[in-house]
Symmetry: C2
Subunit: 535 residues, 2 copies
């Protein structure tokens, strides 16, 4: 890693192409930013020119066949080894992530996000070894067999600002899913945490080398111009794009990719409505206000599952709940926003909500002091206001900001639900009173079709990595409500094609479709029965 390019004498970090750290073809340079000091960090990273993207695409294409025929055990070996190597470098990685994002080192990065990243890589490895994910489906009478397999093109991953580790392009669930299914990957780091990404990618390259996977299996560019991004996602060598980020940027990439016939999986925006039914508020308005605040302010409100819309009825318990919310949101809370861009976006959201007539109940201003901080902010509107302008009142904004929608009655609550856009999650809090049950029965069918994950008496933050998890939802939460980006093996399926074998003899079949179950553990659907047996 000693080949640098230079920008005004300053060394610029190299990019990872074709298994080598090599000087970038510079179109520009950039530096990361410490949100706690509001100062730029010293290291200089490249904004790649098209030459780098072209080179990476060429390298990807060269190895796609080799990768498609690589054994599951070898791929699983890579994922496990990668996790091991990262664990050995935990200290440096988490400290760099802390420096670049100002996310709390102990309570977040070390105790939660780093273990989650490691756990995801190992869960993906286990799913690859088991092989059930490919859904081998066999009709023995007609000798027709199908399973999911690699796409036959490169997967491009764009990572978000808010998870420097667990959703990092080079180490997160997208990376694990795309490699697990035998696809070459080109990663675009988030410019908010290039140093973290670099440290992860160093482990990645060693893991690739030591596990014997093609060295170009995963390549890394730190940044490139928007126009090169559009060119990349519509390139003939590309098969699919995974994007997590802002709706505006995501929709432009989506259009460019889909126009060229590429698959686009975008996690675009979500306000994660929480409905509090009257019975449960009667029981514990104070406790629930605290629960709402804790989830909303987690990670300084910079989670895609942040509960940003709170809906309840304008009765005594509802008003008590709102008052309690107001008190809690008015207490100072430390923590930094990830970047000046997040701050600007949050300010705009506050302005927009004010102009639209929302009443400011707490916060609303930038915090003084060093670092990028904003007050915890609460707005309130009536159900009628929401119904008149549902678009404005459900625009996502990162930061500890919530909009309380105080509705007249259960009927208006249902009408608010009907006006919701697609969301990743919705929560319904209820008691076992007859009244709550009655409202639940009317509300749930409407909410169910609007979201990916429906929670009962639980906040949406904290997305468990389990096969039953769904982190996705109807447009515009994502581009396809059938796919999840968290939870293996379901998340794998985004990067697969269905491969059917018709009248193909045993010796020409992939292992998963042969007479013998390849490992005795893989589940296969044989003539309508799920089984782990040989045929």
């Amino acid at each position: 890693m000693n080949e640098f390019s230079y920008d005004n004498q300053k060394p610029v970090f190299p990019v990872l192409i074709g298994g080598c750290w090599q000087p970038a073809s510079l179109s520009d340079t950039f530096r990361a930013f410490n949100p706690a000091t509001a100062e730029k960090l010293p290291e200089v990273y490249p904004v790649s020119g098209w030459e780098d993207l072209e080179k990476a695409l060429t390298e990807s294409s060269k190895i796609k066949l080799q990768l498609a025929s690589t054994s599951p055990d070898k791929i699983a070996g890579f994922l496990n080894l990668y996790a091991d190597l990262l664990e050995k470098n935990e200290e440096a990685i988490t400290e760099m992530a802390h420096l670049e994002t100002a996310l709390p080192l102990k309570s977040r990065l070390k105790s939660t996000e780093f273990p989650r990243m490691i756990n995801q890589l190992r869960q993906a490895a286990a799913a690859v070894e088991e092989r059930t994910w490919c859904q081998a489906t066999i009709d023995t009478r007609l000798n027709i067999r199908a399973k999911y397999g690699p796409l036959g093109g490169t997967v491009v991953i764009f990572s978000p600002n808010n998870f420097p580790l667990a959703f990092n392009a080079v180490a997160g669930a997208d990376l694990a899913s795309a490699v697990a299914t035998g696809n070459p990957v080109i990663c675009k780091a988030h410019p908010g945490h290039p140093g973290t990404t670099r440290l992860l990618a160093e482990g990645l390259l060693r893991a690739l080398e030591q596990s014997g996977l093609p060295a170009s299996t995963v390549q890394l560019l730190y940044h490139f111009r928007n126009e090169d991004g559009f060119r990349l996602v519509s390139h003939p060598a590309v098969a699919a794009v995974a994007f997590t980020g802002s709706r505006a940027a995501g929709l432009k990439l989506k259009e460019a990719a889909e126009r060229a016939g590429k698959l686009f999986y975008g996690e675009l925006s979500s306000v994660n409505p929480v409905f509090f039914l009257p019975g449960i508020l009667k029981q514990k308005a104070g406790e629930l206000a605290l629960e709402q605040f804790s989830s909303c302010s987690l990670g300084c409100g910079q989670f895609c599952t942040k509960p940003g819309l709170v809906i309840f009825i304008n009765d005594d318990p509802g008003r008590r709940f709102l008052l309690k919310l107001q008190q809690i949101f008015n207490q100072p809370l430390s923590g930094y926003l990830l970047s000046p861009a997040v701050l600007e976006n949050l300010k705009k959201a506050v302005e927009r909500l004010k102009i639209a007539g929302a009443v400011l109940l707490a916060g609303g201003n930038q915090n003084g002091g060093t670092g990028i901080q904003f007050q915890t902010t609460l707005f309130a509107i009536t159900g009628e206001q929401f119904l008149k302008d549902p678009v404005t009142f459900q625009l996502e904004a990162f930061g500890t900001l919530a909009v309380a929608v105080v509705v007249d009655d259960a009927e208006q609550m249902v009408r608010v639900a009907e006006c919701l856009e697609g969301n990743l999650t919705a929560s319904i809090y209820f008691s076992h009173s007859d009244e709550d049950e009655e409202i639940y029965r009317r509300l749930e069918p409407v909410v169910r079709l609007k979201v990916g994950r429906l929670l009962n008496n639980k906040m949406p933050t904290g997305v468990a990595v389990t096969p039953a998890m769904h982190h996705g939802g109807p447009y515009p939460a994502t581009g396809h409500p059938g796919f999840t980006s968290v939870g293996f093996p379901a998340a794998f399926l985004r990067f697969t094609a269905r491969h059917c074998y018709d009248n193909v003899p045993e010796e020409h079949l992939p292992e998963e479709l042969r007479r013998k179950n390849p490992n005795g553990r893989m589940w296969r659907l044989v003539d309508g029965t799920w089984t782990q047996s040989d045929l």
Copy 2:
């Protein structure tokens, strides 16, 4: 069915909206066409104005919640009853289809396509009853559960010209899949067979009424303007579009739909390459030439799985094979093209191939006599020609037209495979000679990633309806290589969203995710094990 609109005194057939046959809001009218006589049929059908589409969308939206909560048994009951009612009207339906398409009554419509349509409806019903399709995935420890469910919006189905029954918008696999999964449907008939569609829809409406499904579950428009089509597929009430037809029309709809965040499943085009390896041609060139011709000319070459590209090596057996192909393609064959548009497109394809330098070995001209007929046509090109202009030489054209690509050697054969676009199918014919096996090992990995269904020593026409079937493929064969339009329950998944339940108590769960297995037959993935047991 006695409410007509009138166009110049002539009665115009009504459209099916909201469970009633009602006069269309006419933007124009049209008549079907008998390809055997090249004359228009007397019945007048409406080209709907936007008012009809708007009305249908409103009706769809009204019942989407009701449909989403309809029991699987009721939906299965509808599908079975629909099949029963159609069977009772087989005579009239197949005769009308014959009149409108000139497809052979006995050998095709009665003996193959009608039974296939009925069989599909019943297979879909059985899959709905079994419920395994929803892939219930349960994590008992974390109490997180997921399954596939309805989309929460309308599915729009556009049917193709070439299957008046089995892929008819109101009775084909798309319809069965969309209704099976609890989605309301708006169907656009193909203007080539409105009468057939009308007869089917009469059965449909009776089946809806008798089975107690909402009457607006399926609605039918015969035709509308292109601009209204774009408006329809991007309408807020729409969730997904299924289109089978030409690539040009499909891509325009795809763009309009995807831009608005809708799912688009298009079956767009495929030339279904067939590779004949030298060893098998040495054994039986004559027999294989006949097999190739039979598949290519089936349905007058108007199948999406027509094998239109034939690749083999320029050696002695290869040249014998080509000569044999030429002899067979030069024999006259009766049969009609579906419409003047198909004829025009075929003529253009012949011109394009000539201009591109392909050598005409058979046919190439319109047949004399009544009806829309074209000679069986064979072109030959070298591998080098193909590699220089792969786009031109793999454009799909309906009709008995094949392009023989005579390659220098195995290496060039592999390079031709590398230049293939995405296809529904590819076939490789081989003997068990060492030479063929060696070529197979080099060729197969390349071909595998280009197609949905890979066949060995078998022609691609004849798409069996089995869970292991895959009728799909990489772009531009379809818009998403992970989905199939034939084979239940896989075809269902196109019209589903993943629904997750997090911390939801038993009484708020759908039946499929509760403690008790709802029918004792449904397979569920519980803590990593596929089982039919209760929890």
